[in-house]
Amino acid sequence: MHFYPLFPVDDSMERYYRHIRLAEIGLRGQQRLSEAKVLVVGAGGLGCPVLLYLAAAGIGTLGIMDDDVVAISNLQRQILFGTSDLGKSKAMIAKKHLIELNGDIQINAHNEKLNPKNALEYIEPYDIIVDGTDNFEARYWINDACILLNKTFVYGAIYKFEGQVTVFNHQNGPSYRCLFPSPPEQESIPNCEEVGVLGVLPGIIGTLQATEVLKILLNIGSPLSGKLLCYNMLTHEQRLINLPRKEQSIQQVKARNALVERETPWNCDLTPTLKFQDAIKKKNVHFIDLRGAEEQPKLPLKPILYIPFTELESRMGELSKSALYVFFCQSGKRSKTAVRLMQERKMNNCFSLIEGAPEILRLLKQTKTA
């Protein structure tokens, strides 16, 4: 046995004393935690408690993946952030606070959004992946990446006053697709943003996820592999559902050997949109008309670029990262797709106008007469 790598022995002995005192953990268990690599995707309601407890527990390498910035509406439940963090990168702020909590561990802040192109690369260096995301797409990408890379996936999800927790892809256990074979239409299941959530709920569910990570690493108790825990915080009723592994679902992912980019209609709510009246108030705004030359009415907006939707991919080089681009089309559909395309190219300075061109023209005339 060798304890030297991450262990300045005296301090660590004291820091983790309550762990080490437990016969089920001891020095050996604590050493295992210090050698573990855990990635938390999403530093939101679920991700914050997961990160806090895993950092406190002395997980040797902790990854945080989130490209979002702290908003005031996050503070009701995302307990890693404070009022002075508003507008700052969640990943970076989380790292700052976690270093304060435990400077002995390695913390990797990935200020990136998980997507089918980067998921495998980001997940590969870690042993366990914790789901702190807020949408179905990301959960299926994590799931499939964990199948392809043989990683354990600690899943958690919430709805209003209820939560689900389980461990997927662990020691030949089932995967997310064994429970729900493919993502539902996003509109059929609203998320927290749309329906609200009691702030403490992700705290409970995230803490349960952190518990599963520690149990797995310490090899104590029985992890929730093959069992879905359904929890209702209003009644504290819990139900454990047995989940069988469906070999076919898993083999399909392996055979595809890649992540599916657009399995469902895109989640409209994830596309950054702006109302026209808000867009014109922003600084350094460039409008981009995505319609073909024949489409009417033309709009008297300045500055404006005409990039027909079909030419967008080839002309992306014309756009800079320093300006703010506001896309519009006739109905708002193409502009949404365009913004998603831009996001895939890491151009996060693009917004889709909610209104289509005829509506914008009407608003322009209204403003003039007002």
């Binding site: 999403g42 709805y159 359904c230």
Partner: protein, 77 residues
């Protein structure tokens, strides 16, 4: 057979309750769905899994226990 149906997540909002008793003769997975869709048309467009005595059952399986849970996926985080 009297079935105790437990609704989770959005299903309890659609049905207006967290559980109810339904009587279905010789119940199967598909018979249960037909009954539910008649009572609550909105369930037709809502995805969920059926668990009988805490075991997920397949689309054509018979239902042999009264303890039913209907589980939709959750997306929040």
């Amino acid at each position: 057979m009297k079935l105790e149906i437990n609704y989770y997540g959005i299903l309890s909002e659609i049905t207006g309750q967290t559980k109810e008793i339904l009587e279905i003769e010789n119940p199967t997975h598909s018979l249960l769905l037909i009954t539910l869709h008649e009572r609550y048309p909105q369930l037709k467009t809502t995805p969920f899994k059926v668990a009988v005595e805490n075991q997920i059952i397949d689309d054509d399986a018979p239902i042999t226990n009264h303890n039913i849970a209907l589980l939709p996926p959750f997306s929040g985080g």
